[in-house]
């Protein structure tokens, strides 16, 4: 090796303007003569260029929601300070309480949930734990049970999973249930959640000492352990439900226009997520009532129903009273993870009354409906078309 060539690799790499494209040209006109040093420079360059530390996305998102939380806390504190220096007492009295500071900001859990990847491959139920740890659950109907500390989790009858938890930081866990499957989760403080097909539940591995907070997308029945001083909040797309201890259903699918909740026992309060300074839609719900949110008018509509009709899915059957066929088909499609298409749209607005046993096949469910709505259908490879 002659001396001149030896110097070239360093000269090329130390150049201020080096970039991926110009390594070859920086070697000067006589590339062939310098070919060895160019090759060396290229190798070293390629190696140094590659990022050496890649952190899991979930960790970065955790950090981000922590920063988000701190920023919100700072904003709140600053508002309090500003106000106290300017006739704050009056304003305090006027606006009521501390709640106003929370008024315009999403809770951290909602922020975290919204940042989650929207789509997952939809063949297995997935449980996401601390640090991006992921557990796949194959069963069609699964159970997930947390013990008190939030660290030890039992899946099904036997499988045990452990996650590390830092006492200082809130760690969020997520269950994603695909179409065709269901899951039942027992949280550390005893609350039970039945998740219907095509749903996602986000919750802290351990609840804070002053409030319990989860996020739901899709449909779930909550049986909340009673604790008067530690309210339980269920956040969803359109509204937040505040409870202390009760059984109720929340339906908030992204592809449904209306979200709704049905209360079986106890008392719940609903808050619309649509907020302006003077108006914040809020409603109290009594047992045996359904509340449907109307996004167009930011208002709730409420009436009496038979709660069992809305809670029975966790036992494997649905009860419908004058329900539109289009809505029933959507439920069948989610429950069995089958595609349903309709050639004659006329049937979709027809209504059906009766109970359907979803423990049977989708074809048997459809057969039952055709006793009162005489449409025809064919079923090929998990695809059903109605005509």
């Amino acid at each position: 090796m002659n001396n001149k060539i030896k110097q070239e690799a360093e000269d090329i790499l130390a150049n201020e303007k080096i970039s991926d494209e110009n390594i070859e040209t920086l070697a000067g006109r006589d590339v062939e003569k310098n070919i060895e040093s160019v090759a060396q420079a290229r190798q070293i360059y390629d190696y140094l260029k590659v990022a050496k530390f890649l952190f899991p996305i979930s960790e970065k998102e955790n950090m981000k929601s922590r920063i988000h939380g701190s920023v919100m806390k700072y904003n709140r504190r600053r508002k309090i300070q500003n106000w106290s220096s300017a006739a704050a007492i009056f304003i305090f009295g006027l606006l009521g309480s501390y709640g106003i500071y929370n008024h315009f900001t999403d809770p951290d859990i909602v922020y975290f949930a919204k940042k989650l990847e929207k789509t997952y491959p939809n063949e297995e139920t997935r449980l996401f734990l601390q640090g991006g740890q992921e557990v796949l659950i194959k069963n069609q109907e699964s159970t997930i049970e947390y013990e008190k500390s939030g660290k030890n989790i039992t899946i099904g009858a036997e499988e045990k999973v452990v996650q590390k938890l830092d006492t200082k930081k809130t760690v969020y866990n997520t269950v994603v249930v695909p179409y065709g499957k269901r899951s039942q989760i027992t949280l550390g403080e005893g609350t039970k959640v039945w998740l219907n097909s095509g749903s996602k539940l986000v919750y802290p591995a351990v609840f804070a000492s002053n409030k319990r907070e989860v996020y739901i997308e899709g449909e779930a029945i909550f049986e909340v352990t009673h604790a008067e001083e530690i309210p339980f909040f269920v956040n969803s797309r359109d509204f937040t439900v505040k409870v202390t201890g009760t059984i109720f259903n929340v339906s908030a699918y992204p592809d449904d226009v209306n979200s709704s909740t049905v209360l079986e026992q106890g008392k719940i309060e609903l808050y619309s997520n649509e907020k302006s300074l003077l108006h914040h839609e809020k409603i109290e719900v009594k047992p045996g009532e359904i509340v449907i949110y109307d996004p167009a008018n930011d208002s709730f509509q409420q009436w009496k129903i038979n709660t069992n009709d809305y809670m029975s899915w966790r036992k494997g059957y649905y009860v419908f009273k004058s329900e539109k066929l289009s809505n029933i088909l959507r439920k069948i499609s989610r429950y069995y993870n089958v595609e349903i298409s309709t050639e004659k749209k006329g049937w979709l607005d027809e209504t059906f009354t009766g109970s359907l046993d979803f423990r049977e096949s989708p074809e048997e469910v459809l057969n039952f409906i055709t006793k009162t709505l005489p449409f025809d259908y064919k079923s090929v490879n998990n695809k059903i078309s109605i005509y």
Partner: protein
């Protein structure tokens, strides 16, 4: 490159003017670089995360008083380094753990796919990895700032608290050490392969 700088400039300006989305955009854009940078100064990941958290919170709190900058990355690196050093000096009063200060970094190639993508053979990267470990901390930091992060010599100098000349010398010596290591490590067969690759690159 120019485009990238401009984008950052606007992001920075709108953040300063009170845009919270811009603030979190800055986070998304720089968190990887900051984590990579920080790992050169401490190996305690949780501690590093705390520092980055504090850095962003400070940026947020003092946003109105921040100066304009057309090189956000440089600005953030400098601030993070100060933060880490301040915290470390606080820490060292209470703990005798000197390991934190003399952070011996280990350059692990991050991901197999990335390596395949850049067509670096395992053998070469092993050789380079060993060679890099033998460099001084300052040389390693300078290499990271120049190659992974594309900073200029004056910027590297300021972050590392050295003169531009020593930044240049540090990098030159570091590269030389790396070059010698791969020259020693190579069999002639590997060299042939390299020539072949290079020819096809130039005369495609």
């Amino acid at each position: 490159m120019q485009k990238e700088l401009n984008r950052d400039y606007f992001l920075w300006e709108s953040f300063k003017n009170g845009d919270d989305d811009a603030f979190f955009n800055l986070y998304d854009q720089y968190v990887d670089a900051l984590l990579g940078f920080g790992m050169h100064f401490t190996q305690d990941v949780d501690f590093l995360k705390d520092c980055i958290h504090d850095l962003f919170l400070d940026l947020y709190k003092y946003r109105k008083r921040l100066s304009g900058t057309d090189n956000v990355k440089f600005y953030m690196f400098r601030s993070l380094k100060r933060k880490i050093q301040n915290e470390l000096s606080k820490k060292s009063i209470f703990s005798t753990d000197k390991n934190l200060e003399i952070a011996q970094i280990e350059l692990e190639p991050a991901h197999d796919d990335v390596i395949i993508e850049t067509e670096i053979k395992q053998e070469n990267s092993d050789i380079l990895k060993t060679a890099i470990r033998k460099l001084t901390d300052q040389q390693q930091q300078a290499l990271f700032l120049k190659f992974e992060q594309n900073l200029s010599y004056p910027e590297i100098a300021e972050i590392l608290n050295i003169s531009t000349e020593s930044a240049r010398t540090n990098i030159y010596r570091a590269i030389k050490a790396l070059r010698i290591s791969i020259q020693k490590g190579h069999t002639s067969f590997n060299m042939l392969l390299m020539f072949y690759r290079l020819y096809s690159r130039i005369y495609r």
